[in-house]
């Protein structure tokens, strides 16, 4: 048994499972056929994605004048969507890295999908700044490469450039972390694949993973060090995103509270999205024994905590806006001006979705209910989008001079690109759910004996986890190594 766990703790793996049962359960969605619901969801997402791509081509072909931006509000939906997607992309690495360092075994049921979600969400986030460049084919100009425009270098003082480095580091490190964890699970699928084509594909994806004792020793060390590196990394990404605003001199943006507040908000929204996705996925892929009520409750506890930090940050912002007595502060996104002005609806939506709704999670019944968690998670997703919209659109809508007072109205292109990224995200996630092992089965096997329901019950009766050694009949088979990897 790998570690001791108090018998009073609820099991993380339900049912009477053996190691082989775990293999079967995880392989089933990959080896089976997709059902009708999957196809319906996939085609809807695909249609949304194509609509979004159409809007992107229209934007690039015509110019970003087709968006609802104006001379004052030069950033609106695009940066809102960017920050929203990056925030969603925070839960995955938080779950796999921070919870690994804290030895939280419950992460094992959800880390794979949360990381997939992270990577797909950061893809969507990355699209927005690139489209907003107007000439996306010049996107490589953000890299510090020698060029033919004289010594025209990138500006390392700019938070936008820090963003380039932070997000590309985050995306690539998350991807590598995810893939390294996937290798043993791809190997499991490979070794039981019947169709030759499937075997080839999974052999390629598994990089020839063989599971030697030394490989596993290195694997665990690499996972631990990557977790140690990814923990400050995940905190740095949204810190740097917040600096896009905090280093500017706009009232409402120029705020030292932004980094911790953005990070908490990102984790808040990331966990909400994990809750949304896993609420559906555990049903569709029959993972009810692995993603249990307990997992949902633990995630909801993280949501209450980070939601609480966000609420305190809102209160602080509101208080400071009032307390400075500065008339310019009176039109920040959380201020008396915002609560009574033309964007009041967005202000109150924010309070309702992000502060009021999550308070329901204080009730244990609601916190442990699948359907309530799902509904609340959708509310938080909406609320966090409003938070970013409020920060950006409200602050920019009232400048220092009345002549710069403008409002932002999105066009169909703004809306279309946003819907397109949601479609793109779900296309990727649905394909992932059909082809990838959605639960880190090798890791779940390590906690089966300490946290599985079956073994917990047996331990309570005083039966040890180690089976009694049965001495088999002396039967020795001579095998030639030429038929290795084939079993009669």
């Amino acid at each position: 048994m790998s570690h001791y766990e108090a018998p009073i703790r609820e099991p993380l793996v339900l049912g009477d499972k053996s190691y082989h049962d775990i293999t079967e359960d995880i392989a089933k969605p990959i080896e089976g056929k997709a059902n009708k619901n999957w196809y319906i969801a996939f085609y809807i997402s695909l249609a949304a994605m194509l609509w979004g791509f159409g809007c992107i081509f229209y934007t690039v072909g015509t110019g970003i004048g087709v968006w609802g931006l104006n001379k004052n509000i030069g950033w609106a939906w695009d940066i809102t969507n960017f920050v929203w997607w990056v925030g969603i992309g925070h839960a995955g690495t938080l779950i796999s890295a921070v919870l690994l360092l804290f030895r939280q075994k419950w992460r094992m049921a959800i880390n794979r999908s949360a990381e997939a979600m992270t990577i797909f969400a950061v893809f969507q986030a990355g699209l927005f700044p690139i489209i907003h460049m107007g000439r996306p084919w010049n996107g490589y100009w953000v890299m510090p490469i020698p060029n033919q425009f004289g010594s025209l270098w990138v500006n390392f003082n700019s938070p936008l450039l820090w963003d380039v480095f932070a997000i590309s580091t985050y995306l690539s490190v998350s991807l590598v972390f995810w893939w390294t964890g996937l290798l043993p699970d791809f190997a499991m699928i490979r070794d039981r694949a019947v169709k030759p084509f499937q075997k080839k594909i999974y052999a390629l994806l598994s990089f020839g993973w063989s599971g030697r004792a030394k490989d596993w020793q290195r694997f665990e060390e690499v996972s631990l060090v990557l977790a140690g590196l990814a923990t400050p990394l995940v905190l740095s990404v949204h810190t740097i995103v917040s600096m896009d605003f905090a280093t500017s001199i706009n009232p409402g943006w120029h705020s030292t509270i932004f980094p911790p507040y953005f990070v908490a908000g990102a984790i808040f929204s990331g966990f909400a999205m994990v809750q949304t996705l896993l609420g559906i996925m555990r049903k569709v892929t029959n993972m009810e024994d692995y993603i249990t009520r307990l997992h949902v409750e633990y995630m909801n506890i993280v949501i209450i905590l980070t939601g609480g930090i966000v609420a305190v940050a809102y209160a602080t912002e509101f208080f400071i806006a009032w307390y400075t007595g500065s008339p310019y502060e009176n039109y920040t996104y959380l201020s008396v001006g915002a609560a009574t002005g033309p964007y009041a609806w967005a202000f109150y939506s924010l309070l309702f979705f992000n502060i009021l709704t999550p308070q329901l999670l204080w009730f244990k019944k609601i916190r442990r209910s699948f359907i309530w968690s799902f509904i609340i998670s959708i509310f938080i997703n909406i609320g966090m989008w409003f938070e970013r919209f409020d920060i950006i659109a409200i602050v920019l809508s009232k400048g220092h001079l009345p002549s710069t007072w403008w409002r932002f109205e999105p066009t169909f292109v703004d809306v279309g690109i946003f819907i397109g990224t949601i479609g793109f995200f779900f296309v990727l996630f649905l394909l992932y759910a059909r082809t990838f092992p959605v639960i880190a089965q090798a890791e779940v096997k390590t906690i089966l004996k300490s946290s599985g329901e079956f073994y917990k019950k047996r331990l309570a009766q005083g039966i040890p986890t180690k089976p009694t050694v049965v001495i088999a009949k002396k039967k020795i088979t001579e095998v030639d190594s030429s038929d290795k990897n084939t079993k009669e």
């Binding site: 290798l183 390629l204 599971g211 740097i240 096997k445 079993k487």
Partner: protein, 175 residues
């Protein structure tokens, strides 16, 4: 050279396997390899494997990344094209350093993470199109396989392995 023979002993439980490894080591037999479907804690120590040094390489790669970030920001912002942005001239790297901290941090992590993972892949010989080397497909599912070279002691080894709870023992000619 004669074809070397090895014994493949299969186990279906991690704790039984761990005891078996200890028993085999106690009899001073060399364990060539153990293939597992998941990491078994304490197995590397029981087999007498040296600790991995990947964490140390990661530290050195991180230092490399940090140095590159310092060199790059210094060359680009201070040496090659110094500018006076908002009354804050960039004539000395150290005075401008606070603005470069995010870059220095990100590049440290970038190098430490990626180069360590690449080192891991090279050392463990895993990469795209690499053929798997586990002798039996069950070792990625629920079987553990211990491989022990045979030097005319099949009988003794088989008896020992059977007594430790091996569910299947094969003698394999490794070419």
């Amino acid at each position: 050279m004669e074809a070397s023979k090895v014994i493949h002993a299969f186990y279906t439980d991690d704790e039984v396997l761990l005891d078996a490894v200890k028993a085999v080591k106690a009899k001073h037999h060399h364990i060539e390899e153990v293939f597992c479907p998941f990491p078994v804690h304490g197995l590397d120590k029981a087999m007498g494997l040296a600790p991995t040094r990947l964490a140390i390489t990661s530290f050195m790669y991180g230092i490399t990344g940090l140095s590159i970030a310092i060199w790059m920001t210094n060359y680009i912002m201070i040496q090659d094209w110094p500018q006076d942005i908002g009354g804050k001239p960039s004539f000395s790297w150290f005075e401008n350093m606070p603005a470069f901290v995010p870059i220095m941090f990100e590049l440290t992590v970038f190098f430490a993470a990626h180069l360590m993972v690449i080192t891991f892949y090279m050392r463990s010989r895993i990469w795209p199109f690499k053929e798997a080397e586990n002798p039996d497909p069950r070792t990625t599912d629920d079987h553990f396989l211990m491989e022990i070279p045979v030097h005319n002691n099949e009988e003794e080894l088989t008896e020992l392995l059977t007594n430790t709870g091996a569910v299947e023992i094969n003698i394999v000619d490794k070419h």
